[in-house]
Amino acid sequence: MHASIAGKEILKGINLQIGAGETHAIMGPNGAGKSTLSAVLTGNPAYTVTEGEVIFRGKDLLQMSPEVRAREGLFLSFQYPVEIPGVSMTNFMRTAVNAKREHQGLQPLSAGEFLKLMRAKRALVELDNKLASRSVNEGFSGGEKKRNEIFQMAMLEPCLSILDETDSGLDIDALRIVAEGVNKLHTADNATIVITHYQRLLDYIVPDYVHILADGQIVRTGGKELALELEQTGYAGLAEHPNTSANMVGTAQ
């Protein structure tokens, strides 16, 4: 898949396959295109896909509106979560959860059921009740915003979650709590893409595959040991051992 923004090509032929139950890490230098990949998958209108296709659970993802992609089970934990003053977390989440339920042909949750769900999911990531009763992300600290992303992920129970640098901004304890939350949400039926710069997160969320994205292409794929190697050599050392073809990424199901 190729994609561009403002006429500039950012993704220059990405080939990736993610199977149910898998966790894939994507690492790579600043500006490589990692967030661009998240934006393109979730349907951010600022980007244009110029070539290629994306099949999500048998369906043509690129034909769907962003909200339908979400209702079909795609979730992005934003690198920079957006503040929405005046829209309460509760109202926001109720609208989101019920939109997904309607898409699935289910009745909306009653007020009681909804509050119970909120409470249970808040506990999962230890999100303060005070935060849940405020406007969406408004005045949240950097770490609180990231924790709130994973809370929303827990509420929506997606099939494919993309965590774009969810670890950045989290303190040591928060990182452990949030990572444990992500692990608890992991099942044999869903999958996760973890975008990170640091091995540390991958100690908690252990990936099946690690991909290196550089200059809009996946230049290397390996197991979790690739992240360790990267820690030693940095991206500069990478080019010297291109032992995996860029096209042989992920696994076939």
């Binding site: 962003p66 909200e67 209702r71 929405i84 609208t95």
Partner: protein, 217 residues
Amino acid sequence: MQELHLIQGEHKHLVIEHVADDSAQWHIVQEAGSVLTIHLFCLDSDAAMTGSVVLDIEQTGEHAETYIYGLGILTGKQQIEVRTHVRHSVPNGKSNQLLKFAVKDEAKGSFVGELVVDPHAQHAEAMQTNRNVLLSPKATMHTQPQLEIYADDVKCSHGASTGQIDESALFYMQQRGIGVVEARQLLLTAFFHDVLTTLGEPIVEERIQRRIAQQLA
């Protein structure tokens, strides 16, 4: 033009829910200690409507207070002009104007806010805020604050802005599965929130909320 005279100490709440012809044109005089609160709602569904609102208010007695709160969603080919004229002629007066408009489709909105503080109207506190959101490329909003402050010991402030809906907030909501129409509705309800909370009448507030939703659908 309708005339209204608030006698000394009188409190008056005026709710203008429709902007048709001269029902929305007022000349109001306030005596000392009177408190006037006006709520203006431009939420008419007639897509071809043209309307003009005039709120011409003069404080002739000290310690009078004037509050003008307004919101509107202009749709279709509507052309609506709102003109406020608040005049502090005597000392120790207070006024606050907060008006917010969302303009859709090919509608045209205009706000002209004249605020006059006469030379001897010392210690006046006067505020005027006008915020607007354009919801389509062909929608326009003209805003023209006009402050004439002739007294030197006063507290006056004004602000006017016209912008677009926050695209990143819209996308964030869509990414959570919320449809565009509903996401816009949530954002605009938030935008109008501070105006609505000044109403203090739950039944009217509910009715206005419903009309907001209808105008955005």
